[in-house]
Amino acid sequence: MLWLYLHFPHLLLDHVRRSRENPVATAIVEGSPPQVRQACPLAQQQGVSPGMRLKTALSLVPDLAIAQLKPSQEHVILEQQARWLYRYAAQLVLYPPDGLLLEASSLLRLYGNLDSLWQALIQAASRRQLTLRLATGLTPKATRLLARADRGQCTQDTATLTRTLNQLPLADTELEPGTLTRLRRLGLTHLGEVFQLPPKELARRLDPDTLAFLQRIQGSRPDPQAFWQPPHRFHQHIDFICDVEQTQGLLFPLHPMLSELEEDLQWRQVDTDRLQLTLHHRDGDTQTLSVCRSGPEHRASAFLELIRLRLESHPLNAPVCAMALTVTRFLPRDTPSGTDLLGETFDLREAWQTLTSRLQARLGEQALQQLAPHADHRPERAWVTTPLQRPRKPGAERSWSHPPARPLWLLPAPEPLQQSPEHWLAGPERICSGWWDGRQVQRDYYTAQLPDGQVAWIFRDVRDGWFIHGWFG
C-alpha cells in the first residue's frame, strides 16, 4: 500500500499571508513570553526560526509582522484542506495541526500515475498559496516522517523509499527526547542503524513503546488509521416541473423536505437554528435566504412557520425552477430544564424563542436588539444594545441594591438648558471618566424641577455649559 503525506509547515502563516499584497517577513507567535511558532521562508532567511523567543526574532528582523496563533483557526484551515482532498481520496487521515495522510491507491487510479498526481497536488497547494511538503511512503508513520523532514520523493519504488527512510537522521523521527539521547549515546545517528539491531535486544534496552513505534515505521506492526469523515450536512434539492411564481407555491414542497430534516435531526439527536434556502431561477440566478431561529429547534412545523414569515417579507423577484434546503450547523440538544416530567409544562423560554424568532423572521435579524446595562460611569455609555440572546438563568444579572438615580428617559444627546430651574432636588453628582477613548466627560449632575413642573436631569460640564440629559417621570 502506498501512502501520501501532505505536510503544511506553516499553515496558519500561509493563511495570514494570503491577505497581504507584498510578502513581508511574518511569524506566528504564541505564549507568554511570546515564542515564534511558525516563521515564513522570508523570516527564516533572516534567521527567525520556530521555538525562538519573540524578543530574539525581533532583534533579527525589527519589522517582523506578527500574528497570534489561534489553534481553532488552524484546525478549521486544515479541515478545509481535507475537504478538497476528500473529493478525490476517500481514505484520508487528519494529523492536526498541520498534516494530512492519504491512501494513495485510489488517487493513483484517478491520475493514472504518481507523477501527475504529485504535480496535481503541488499545483493545487500553490493555487491555495500553501507551502506544501509532500512525501510518499510505505507506512503511515514513515510517510509522515519523510514529509516532515522534507525528504519526500516522487517514487513508489520500495527500495528507494526504504533507503531514504534508513538515511533519516534520528533527530527527525519524533522519538522521545530521552530515547533519542540513549540512541545517540550508542553512537546511532540514523534510522537505518536502529533497524539493523535485533528487535529483541532493542526492546530490552529501550521501552516497548519505542520498539512498537519503530516497528510501525517499518510496517512490521499494524498501524490502524482513523479515517476522516467530512462533517455532516443536510441537503435536499427539488426541481419543479413548472415554475413557481408565488411564495405560497414554495411552502407545499417545503413540507416534505422539512419533515425529512426533522427526522434527520431526531435520529441524530441534535437541533439547529439556521437553515439555508436556495432558490434557483429560470434565468440561472440563485437567491439565498438564510432563516435563523433565536433558539435551537428540530420540528418541521416550527421551521415552516418561520420560512413562511420570511418569504412573506421577501417576495420572489423571478420564477423559481428549483429549490434546495441546506443545514450545516448542528447544535447538541439541551435537556429541558425547569420542567417536570408529569406536570404541565409551560416553558417560558420556548414561548420567548418563538416570539423573538417570529419577529426576527418578519423584521430581519438585525432589526431586533436587546438592551443591556454596560459597566461605564458615563450615562450615555452605561447601556448598550446587543443582538438577541437567549434569556439567561435567573440570578445571573448583577443586582443593584441602590441603583444610582438615573432618569428612565435619557435624551439621545444632551440639550442645552433654556430656563433656570425652580427647585434643586438632588446633586451634585460628579462624573469624570472616559479619558481613554477620547470621549471624556467631566460633569456635575443635578436633579431639578423646571419652571413648567418637569423634573429634569441636568448637568454642568467642565466648560460651564448647562444641559438637560434626561427626564424623570
Binding site: 507567535v29 507568554s32 513570553p33 511570546p34 533572516q46 534567521g47 519573540l54 524578543k55 530574539t56 525581533l58 532583534s59 533579527l60 528582523v61 525589527p62 519589522d63 517582523l64 506578527i66 497570534q68 539521547t181 540513549r182 545517540r184 549515546r185 550508542l186 553512537g187 546511532l188 542503524e193 539493523q196 539491531l197 535485533p198 535486544e201 530490552r204 534496552r205 529501550l206 454596560h374 459597566a375 461605564d376 460611569h377 441594591s401 441602590h402 444610582p404 438615580a405 438632588a426 451634585p428 453628582e429 460628579r430 462624573i431 469624570c432 471618566s433 479619558w435 481613554w436 477613548d437 477620547g438 456635575d444
Partner: protein
C-alpha cells in the same frame, strides 16, 4: 479653619495609590494642611519617604495604616488605625506583622480576633462603616461599631467622605444616625488615592492592572470621578460641616508620634556585663593588634587606631562594629572566608577586628575619608562571604539574635521602562506581541517626540491622543513601587523585637522575612544594617588556599601571600587574567596592558576605571596618558590637588567626584550629600539636572574650564546607579591581587578552586579548563576509578583531575557513593559499580555518556549497550562473584569517532579534553584560510585576515556606542572580534545566531592585545550541529 488628612494611600499601596509619598507631602504643604497621615494598606512602607519630605515643614506626619477584615458574609470591616505615640506605633507594627506573616508574599489577612489578641490601646481607630455597606441593616452596623468601641476603649470615629457620587445624601444620613446611636463623633476624610486630580488616568490604569483587565473594560472597578485627591481647604469647607473638619485637627493633635524618634537599639548581648561597649571594642582592637602586628604596632597605626576609636565613640557606633566583629568571628571559626568593604571597612580598627585584610600600613586610606562626623549617617560596611556558605552565616544570625530580632531589609521593586511600557500597554488594551515588538525596537535614548511617533508607527494605536496618553502614563508610572522583595543580604538586627520597630512580612523564599523598609528608608531614619553578601571568588580562593596548604604541607592563609610580587604584576600586564577576580572581563583584559598595574593601588584604580562613570566622563584616556607621562600632571589649585593627587589629577572614584563638587564647585557638605543620594537614585527616579547648573556655574566661577566641568557632570551621570567608590575598589583590589597571585604561582590549585566553585565568574568550565591547559596544567578526564566528586589535584598536586560534579544531572548522593564504595583496586566492571554504589540506571547512563568508564572499557558505545541490556536484570548479592557483562549476542555498533566522543563530552560535561572542535574541522578540510588565535600574534596590524571559532561571548557594552564584542574560541585560544554598528545591522543573522562563526576582517593591535575588526560574517553552525556550546550573551 484648618484640616488634617487622615486617610491617604500612597503608591506603596501597590496598584492603588497613584502618587509618591513625597508628592503627597509636598501637596499637603502647599495646601496648608495641618497634618497628613499616610495610611497604606497594612503597611508603613511609605512612611520614611513622607517623613523625609515633611521634615522641617509645618505639616505634621501621622503614621497609620488601613485594614480590611474579611467578613464571613456581607461587606468587609474596614478601618484605619493611627499611631498616637511610639507605643502605638509599635502596636501598629505588630498588628501589621501578624496580618502579613499569615498571608503569602504581598498580601495580608487580618482576622477580627486579631483585635482581641493585640493590645492597641495607643492607636486611634477611624472606622469606615459605609464603604460598601449599602445594604447592611443599621442594627448590625451599630453592633459592629460597639464591638470596635470596646476594642479601642472608645477611641473610635466614624469616618465620612464626600466624593460626589450617587446616594451620598443617604449615606450621610446613615452616618449621622449611626453617630447618634453610638455616641461616636464623625470625622471628615478624603480617602485620598492621589495628590492631584489630574492623576486620575494613572489611578484608573493602576486599578485596571489590579483587576487584570484593560481600562476600557474595567467598568465599575474604576472610580466615578477623580475626587479622591488632596482637595483645597475651600472645597473641603463647602463639603463638610465645620465640626467634622475640626475633628480632624483634634485627632491630629492626639497623634504625637514622629518616626524621627525611632532609634536603633543594638543588641546589648554582645558586651560582657562588666564592660562598656567602648571598653570592649577597645579590648578587641588591642587583641587584634597583637595578632596583626606581632612585632608591635607601628606608631602611625597606633595613632590611627586611637583617632578612629575616638570617632567611633563620639558617633556611638561601637555596637555596629561589635556586631560585625561577632559575625566575622563566627565565619572565621567555621573556616568561611570573608572580606569587608565600604566606607569604614578599610580602617585600622576593622583590620584589627579581622573585618578586612586590607593592611593599613600598605594603603594610606584615611578612615576619616569614609566616616564623616558632619553627615549624620551610619557607617556602611558590606561583608562578602564565600557564596556557597553564606547561608551558614545567615542562619547563625537568625540563631544568635532570633527571628524576631533579625530580618532582611526590603528592596523596593519599581517600574522600569520595560515593565512600565508593558503594563501601561496592557491597561490600554494593546496587543502584547506588538508591545514586545515596540519594546525591542525602541531606542531608549531617543527624544520624547520620537517615542510617540514609534507608538503610531508600530500601530499600537491609530489614535494620536492615545499615543500621547500612553507616553504620559509610562513616564508617570516609571519609578512607582511595584512590590517589596528581599535585599540581597542587608540585615537589620535590633535589641527588642524587630516588629516593634518596623513591620515584618514574608518574602518569596520560604523561611525568609523582610522588613517593610529598604536601605534608603533605613538610611534616612538613621538606622544601621549589616550587609551579608555572597561572593563566589571567596569560595574559590578558600578552596585554592587549602590545596596550596596541602601541597606545601603547612597551613597557608590569605595573609601569608607575599605582597607586591613582581611576577604577578607581569602576568596581569600581559592581560593574562582569565579567572582573576574583577579584571577578567573583555574590557578589563584590554585595559590591563594599557594601564600596566605595578602595585596594589594601581589595582584599586584598575578595578574602578573600567566603569560607566570614568568612561562616560572621558577620564580614562587622560589618566592613561598621564600615567605614561605623555601628558603633564597639573592641578588648578591645591584644593583640587588634595582630592586628585593619588589619581594623577583625574577623578576616577565616586568619592573624588563628590569631593570635587565641594572643592571645585563650592557645594556645601549637605549639598554634596544630596548629590551622592541623587546619584544613587538616578537609575530609578532621580534627576540630576538640578545639580548640573550649580556644578558648572560653581566650577566656572572658581576658574575651571567649561569642558572639564561638562566632563565631570557626565561622569556624575555615569556613576548614577553604578557608583564605584574607592572604599569598595580597595577591598576588591586585594582579592584581585590574591587571585592573580594564586593563578601565577599555583595555577593547578587556582583552577581547581575556581572549577569547584562554579557557577561563578565570567567564564565557563570549558574556557577555564582550556586556559588551565594553556598554563601547562595537566588536566585528566572524569573517571569512576580516579575522580572524586569535586575536582582534585593528583600526582604531587600538579595534575588537575576533573570531578564527577562536572557530569550534568548526576546527583551529589550518587557521586558520594561512587567515591565511598570504591574498592582499593578500583571498580572492575559496570556491574560491580552498580552493586557497590547502588546506583540507579540513570546515574550509570550519565557516567557512560560522560566517558567515565574509560578505565574499564575503551568503547563508549559498547559500554553503554551493555549497561542498557542489564537494566532490568535482578541484582546480585554483594560478595558473590560478579559475572562480567557481555553475555548478549555481539552487536555491531559503530565505533565512536573522535567527533562523536567530543560531542558526547560536550553534551554531558560541557567541555572536552580531546582536541578542540576547530582542530577537528580543520583536519577535515574546513576553514582552510582561517588563522587561529596563536597565528594572529605574528600578523601585522592592518592586514586582512580570516578567523573562525565557537562563539563564547557577545557583548554590547553601554560604554562603547553601538559596538558589539564577539569572542571566538579556537583550538589555540580566544580571538576578539569587534563588530561596528553598521556591519552588525547588515549581518544580524550570523552575528546573533551563529554558534560557529567565520569572520573576515582586518587585524588591529595594541601591545599584545589583538582585535579583528569584522567585515564579512559567515554562520557555519551547520558544521557543529549537535555541539552544545554556551555563549555568554549581552548580560
Amino acid at each position: 479653619m484648618g484640616y488634617a488628612e487622615l486617610t491617604c494611600f500612597s503608591n506603596f499601596t501597590f496598584l492603588t495609590g497613584a502618587s509618591h509619598p513625597h508628592e503627597l507631602a509636598e501637596r499637603a504643604i502647599a495646601l496648608g494642611y495641618q497634618a497628613l497621615a499616610i495610611t497604606d494598606a497594612c503597611s508603613v512602607a511609605g512612611i520614611p519617604r513622607a517623613w523625609a519630605a515633611l521634615r522641617g515643614s509645618p505639616v505634621k506626619l501621622i503614621t497609620g495604616s488601613y485594614f480590611e477584615v474579611e467578613a464571613s458574609e456581607g461587606a468587609p470591616l474596614t478601618f484605619t488605625l493611627l499611631a498616637r505615640d511610639r507605643t502605638g506605633y509599635s502596636q501598629l507594627c505588630q498588628l501589621i506583622t501578624t496580618a502579613r506573616r499569615r498571608a503569602d508574599k504581598g498580601r495580608y489577612r487580618l482576622e477580627r480576633e486579631d483585635l482581641d489578641r493585640h493590645c492597641l490601646n495607643r492607636c486611634l481607630c477611624l472606622w469606615h462603616p459605609l464603604s460598601g455597606n449599602e445594604q447592611e441593616p443599621s442594627d448590625s452596623l451599630a453592633d459592629t461599631g460597639r464591638w470596635l468601641q470596646a476594642r479601642f476603649s472608645g477611641s473610635v470615629w466614624i469616618t465620612v467622605t464626600r466624593t460626589l457620587e450617587p446616594n451620598e445624601e443617604r449615606q450621610l444620613e446613615r452616618a449621622r444616625f449611626l453617630s447618634s446611636q453610638l455616641g461616636c463623633a464623625i470625622v471628615a476624610s478624603g480617602q485620598v488615592h492621589m495628590h492631584a486630580r489630574d492623576c486620575q488616568p494613572l489611578q484608573d490604569v493602576l486599578t485596571a492592572l489590579r483587576h487584570n483587565t484593560p481600562v476600557e473594560q474595567a467598568g465599575h472597578h474604576l472610580f466615578q470621578n477623580g475626587e479622591r485627591y488632596l482637595r483645597p481647604l475651600s472645597v473641603l469647607k463647602r463639603l463638610f460641616p465645620d465640626s467634622w473638619l475640626q475633628e480632624t485637627l483634634r485627632i491630629a493633635q492626639l497623634c504625637t508620634f514622629d518616626p524621627g524618634e525611632l532609634r536603633y537599639e543594638y543588641p546589648s548581648d554582645l558586651v560582657p556585663s562588666h564592660q562598656t561597649p567602648a571598653s570592649y571594642l577597645q579590648q578587641l582592637t588591642r587583641d587584634g593588634e597583637r595578632r596583626r602586628f606581632p612585632q608591635g604596632t607601628p606608631i602611625t597605626i597606633q595613632a590611627l587606631i586611637r583617632k578612629e576609636l575616638t570617632l567611633i565613640g563620639e558617633l556611638r557606633y561601637e555596637h555596629y562594629f561589635l556586631t560585625l566583629h561577632d559575625i566575622v568571628t563566627f565565619a572565621r571559626s567555621q573556616g568561611i572566608l570573608c572580606q569587608g568593604r565600604g566606607s569604614a571597612a578599610n580602617s585600622a580598627v576593622c583590620y584589627c577586628l579581622g573585618i578586612t585584610e586590607v593592611d593599613p600600613t600598605q594603603v594610606e586610606l584615611l578612615f576619616e575619608r569614609f566616616i564623616s562626623k558632619d553627615r549624620d549617617e551610619p557607617p556602611d560596611i558590606d561583608v562578602d562571604f564565600e557564596h556557597e556558605r553564606r547561608e551558614e552565616v545567615i542562619q547563625y544570625i537568625y540563631r544568635r539574635y532570633g527571628r524576631d530580632r533579625a530580618a532582611l531589609a526590603a528592596t523596593v521593586i519599581r517600574y522600569r521602562p520595560r515593565s512600565a511600557v508593558r503594563d501601561v500597554g496592557k491597561a490600554l488594551g494593546f496587543d502584547p506581541a506588538q508591545v514586545e515588538q515596540f519594546l525591542s525596537g525602541i531606542d531608549w535614548r531617543d527624544q520624547a517626540s520620537n517615542w510617540r511617533q514609534q507608538i503610531l508607527d508600530k500601530h499600537l494605536t491609530r489614535n494620536p491622543a492615545i499615543a500621547d496618553q500612553f507616553f504620559t502614563l509610562v513616564n508617570r508610572i516609571l519609578g512607582f513601587p511595584r512590590h517589596l522583595s528581599q535585599h540581597v543580604g542587608g540585615f537589620v538586627i535590633s535589641a527588642g523585637p524587630l516588629s516593634e520597630l518596623v513591620p515584618v512580612e514574608n518574602a518569596t523564599m520560604a523561611d525568609r522575612t523582610v522588613i517593610q523598609w529598604d536601605k534608603d528608608d533605613l538610611e534616612s531614619l538613621g538606622l544601621m544594617k549589616v550587609d551579608v553578601l555572597a561572593l563566589g571568588m571567596l569560595s574559590a580562593i578558600r578552596k585554592a588556599l587549602s590545596l596550596v596548604s596541602r601541597k606545601l604541607g603547612h597551613p597557608f592563609r590569605l595573609q601569608d601571600i607575599e605582597r607586591e610580587n613582581r611576577e604577578v604584576y607581569d602576568m596581569l600586564c600581559e592581560g593574562d587574567s582569565i579567572g582573576v577576580f574583577q579584571v577578567e572581563s573583555r574590557a578589563q583584559m584590554n585595559m590591563l596592558p594599557r594601564l600596566r598595574p605595578r602595585c596594589y593601588y594601581d589595582l584599586v584604580i584598575q578595578v574602578a576605571i573600567v566603569r560607566p562613570g570614568p568612561i562616560q566622563g572621558d577620564m580614562v584616556h587622560p589618566y592613561l596618558q598621564r600615567r605614561a607621562s605623555t601628558e603633564p600632571v597639573v592641578y588648578p589649585n591645591t584644593g583640587v590637588q588634595g582630592v586628585l593627587e593619588r589619581t594623577l589629577g583625574v577623578p576616577i572614584f565616586q568619592e573624588q567626584v563628590i569631593k570635587l563638587a565641594m572643592v571645585a564647585a563650592g557645594f556645601s557638605a549637605g549639598e554634596a550629600d544630596r548629590l551622592r543620594r541623587a546619584m544613587a537614585a538616578w537609575k530609578s527616579d532621580g534627576d540630576l539636572t538640578p545639580f548640573r547648573d550649580k556644578l558648572i556655574r560653581g566650577m566656572l566661577e572658581r576658574g575651571h574650564d567649561e569642558e572639564f566641568a561638562e566632563r565631570l557632570y557626565r561622569q556624575i551621570c555615569g556613576f548614577g546607579g553604578y557608583g564605584f567608590p574607592e572604599s569598595h575598589a580597595a577591598s576588591f583590589a586585594l582579592l584581585v591581587y590574591v587571585s592573580a597571585w594564586l593563578k601565577c604561582h599555583h595555577p593547578a590549585a587556582f583552577y581547581c578552586g575556581l572549577l569547584n566553585s562554579q557557577p561563578m565568574g565570567f567564564y565557563s568550565p570549558s574556557q577555564l579548563v582550556q586556559d588551565a591547559r594553556r598554563h601547562k596544567v595537566t588536566v585528566l578526564p572524569v573517571d569512576i576509578n580516579h575522580s572524586q566528586w569535586d575536582h582534585t589535584l593528583q600526582a604531587r598536586d600538579e595534575h588537575l583531575r576533573l570531578g564527577l560534579r562536572l557530569i550534568k544531572g548526576l546527583s551529589t548522593e550518587a557521586g558520594r557513593r561512587i567515591c565511598e564504595q570504591r574498592p582499593g583496586s578500583g571498580y572492575q566492571s559496570a556491574s560491580e559499580l552498580r552493586q557497590r554504589a547502588t546506583l540507579q540506571q540513570r546515574d550509570l547512563e550519565l557516567l557512560a555518556g560522560a566517558g567515565a568508564f574509560a578505565s574499564i572499557s575503551n568503547n563508549r558505545h559498547q559500554a553503554y549497550w551493555q549497561l542498557l541490556g542489564h537494566e532490568h536484570e535482578p541484582g546480585w548479592l554483594l560478595g558473590e562473584a560478579c559475572p562480567g557483562y557481555g553475555s548478549g549476542p555481539d552487536i555491531a555498533l559503530p565505533t565512536p569517532s573522535e567527533g562523536q566522543n567530543m560531542l558526547s563530552d560536550y553534551t554531558s560535561l560541557g567541555l572536552s579534553l580531546q582536541r578542540h572542535p576547530l582542530a577537528l574541522l580543520k583536519e577535515q578540510g574546513h576553514l582552510k584560510h582561517c588563522l587561529n588565535a596563536e597565528q594572529l600574534l605574528d600578523q601585522e596590524p592592518g592586514r586582512p585576515v580570516q578567523v573562525a571559532g565557537l562563539v563564547t561571548g557577545r557583548q554590547r557594552p553601554g560604554s562603547a556606542a553601538g559596538v558589539t564584542f564577539v569572542t571566538l574560541e579556537d583550538e589555540s585560544g580566544n580571538v576578539n572580534v569587534v563588530v561596528w554598528l553598521e556591519t552588525a545591522r547588515r549581518q544580524r543573522k550570523p552575528l546573533l545566531t551563529a554558534r560557529l562563526l567565520q569572520v573576515k576582517g582586518v587585524i588591529e593591535r595594541e601591545g599584545n592585545t589583538i582585535h579583528v575588526m569584522a567585515g564579512r560574517l559567515t554562520d557555519l553552525s551547520h558544521l557543529i550541529e549537535h555541539l552544545n556550546v554556551r555563549s555568554r550573551d549581552f548580560q
